[in-house]
Amino acid sequence: MPAPNRRKNRVWTVVTVLFFLGPAMFGFGTKFYELVQVFRGDASGAFAVTPIVNYLLAGCGFLLLFGWAAKNGMFRDIEQPKFLMLENENRLDAVERSAAPHA
């Protein structure tokens, strides 16, 4: 891809990410603040913490996995695996066909 195009793409990616993540982070931040308030003000509100902590743990795990996958090129040639999978399947079928007793 020519360099100016690549730069344009990068700018668009950053703008799009900010567009979605900005409000989402704001929403999340305020809700998290409310959670802390509930937790502080009312002991019985503590039960709200369990599902949230559960979610945060799972979410963090997936964020790490996502980062790892991106860094290891899992999304680089993003359509390639669908062709490979069919190729593999065809090869297995060919072996099976050649081995079948009545083939």
Binding site: K31, E34, L35, V38, S44, G45, A46, F47, A48, T50, P51, I52, N54, Y55, A58, G59, G61, F62, F66, N72, G73, M74, F75, R76, D77, I78, E79, Q80, P81, K82, F83, L84, M85, L86, E87, N88, E89, R91, L92, D93, V95, E96, R97, S98, A99, A100, P101, H102, A103
Partner: protein
């Protein structure tokens, strides 16, 4: 690593029939299917008994061991852990080695897991009938079985993760789904069965139990189901999935949005409103994710639409997908507070549960069995007509049951909201409950037809190479 440098997983693979035998343990897949179908029948008998009880036709009244409350739990547990889990495990023994070109970690371990899982399921059934159910919905497995079941799930993860971890290069979307399902199921099972039992109590435990029911469907059944569809649909249509990129959007969307949704089962409860709204918003986010998945599968079908008529497994799959869309459309309504006022605790929810569990996931698994059984046994189906009967009885009965229970739910909701006495709502429900018995009988007959067809197929001679390339069901 750059894309061209990546070693593809097709770089290795079986060259001979013996290699192929080593790759997939066909006998075990069949054993899993037999176990699954046995529990399906047991579960359906439980459902029928419960349905008869609700129309006051219970001939077993007074026998404590066979009381309806216990049969109801047997019905749901035998479906989840007996039918769905066994059918999924069997199919994974076929799909994962073929997708990764590597066998599972250990075949003896696979057989051990098979035996251990049957012990878990049978002990659960016996425990429930003896009145030892744990007070967690869908986690009624008696407390003494929980650690064994959890160990079983851990072994399953280890056994299947080995070939997935060994595969090189960018992973196909099915493998993402499977990998996540192994981790999620283990964590979900541990959370639902141990935390409310030993760690927290009261509303706290209720919230966790709700999350558990929800996650069991969304993080165990859903990723395995979709992962298998991403594998079987392209190989049966003989063309790749429309967009692999879009399929990954579906996967990561599920990963990030699904776990927060559990609280949508608890709208109008003492759980703080901002958490309830959070669950509503993430449910809406998942609706978008679902739309991408559906678009992707119909995009794949585009140009091969006739396959839905001529290829029976494809027909099972796409029927399930349409019903999945209906289920999610229902969710979009159910997640609003206005709608909850009417349908909460009514048969609407029971209709929804049957639609997703039977209409979607069981139909996918039955379609997979329809495709794989000839390949596993080397024998074509004894009767294609019986295969068709199996499909039509199953598909029509679930649609009838779903519409019937949905209507029942609305009538019950209206009865309650108009402050009628309780018996009014049960009287109003009678016609619907009677229809449910007949729909159940039709669904049950469909499965009996399938089992008879399998029996005749197995007792027949080996046929021409049933490699699935030209399946009788195609």
């Amino acid at each position: 690593m750059n894309a061209p440098e990546m070693e593809s997983s097709s770089a290795i693979g079986p060259e001979s029939a013996a290699d192929l035998e080593r790759l997939v343990e066909r006998k075990l897949v069949l054993w899993y299917y037999f176990a699954a179908l046995t529990y399906l029948i047991v579960s359906m008998l439980g459902g029928l008994l419960m349905a008869l009880q609700l129309i006051q036709c219970n001939e077993l009244q007074g026998i404590e061991l066979l009381s309806p409350g216990r049969w109801r739990m047997l019905h749901t547990n035998a479906i989840a852990y007996g039918f769905l889990a066994n059918a999924f495990l069997g199919t994974l023994h076929w799909a994962i080695p073929r997708l990764t070109m590597r066998p599972v970690l250990s075949k003896p371990l696979s057989y051990l897991i098979f035996a251990a899982w049957q012990i878990v399921v049978v002990s659960t059934a016996v425990g429930i009938l003896l009145g030892q159910a744990q007070a967690v919905e869908w986690g009624e497995t008696p407390v003494w079985i929980d650690p064994v079941a959890l160990l079983g799930l851990l072994l399953v993860a280890v056994n299947f993760m080995a070939p997935i971890a060994g595969a090189k290069g960018p992973m196909y979307v099915s493998l993402w789904y499977f990998m996540a399902a192994f981790v999620w199921t283990f964590l979900t099972y541990a959370m639902g069965n141990f935390i409310p039992q030993y760690v927290v109590c009261g509303t706290n435990a209720g919230a966790i139990a709700g999350l558990f029911i929800h996650d069991l469907v969304g993080l165990f059944v859903t990723p395995l189901g979709w992962g298998l569809m991403y594998y079987f649909v392209p190989i049966l249509l003989k063309k790749p999935i429309w967009s692999h990129g879009l399929s990954l959007v579906g996967f990561w969307g599920l990963a990030f949005f699904y776990p927060l949704q559990g609280i949508h089962h608890f709208l109008y409860t003492p759980i703080p409103m901002f958490l309830q709204y959070g669950a509503v918003i993430s449910t809406i986010a998942v609706e978008f994710v679902v739309a991408t998945v559906i678009v992707n599968f119909f995009g794949t079908l585009y140009g091969s639409g006739r396959a839905v008529v001529t290829n029976l497994p494809i027909r099972w799959f796409y029927t399930g997908m349409i019903l999945y869309f209906v289920t999610c459309f229902q969710c979009a309504l159910q997640v609003t507070l206005t709608f909850q006022q009417l349908i909460h605790f009514t048969d609407w929810v029971v209709g929804h549960a049957h639609l997703v569990m039977f209409g979607v996931f069981s139909q996918w698994l039955l379609g997979i069995m329809t495709y794989l059984i000839p390949r596993l046994t080397g024998k074509e189906w004894y009767s294609r007509t019986l295969c068709e009967w199996h499909y039509w009885l199953s598909a029509t009965s679930i649609v009838v049951m779903f519409l019937d229970l949905t209507m029942a739910g609305l009538f019950q909701g209206w009865s309650w909201s108009s402050m009628q006495y309780w018996d009014h709502s049960t009287q109003v429900s009678q016609p619907f409950w009677i229809v449910r018995v007949f729909a159940g009988l039709a669904m049950f007959s469909g499965q009996i037809v399938f089992i008879y067809n399998i029996y005749r197929t197995l007792s027949g001679p080996r046929t021409a190479p049933a490699t699935g390339l030209q399946p009788a069901t195609a």
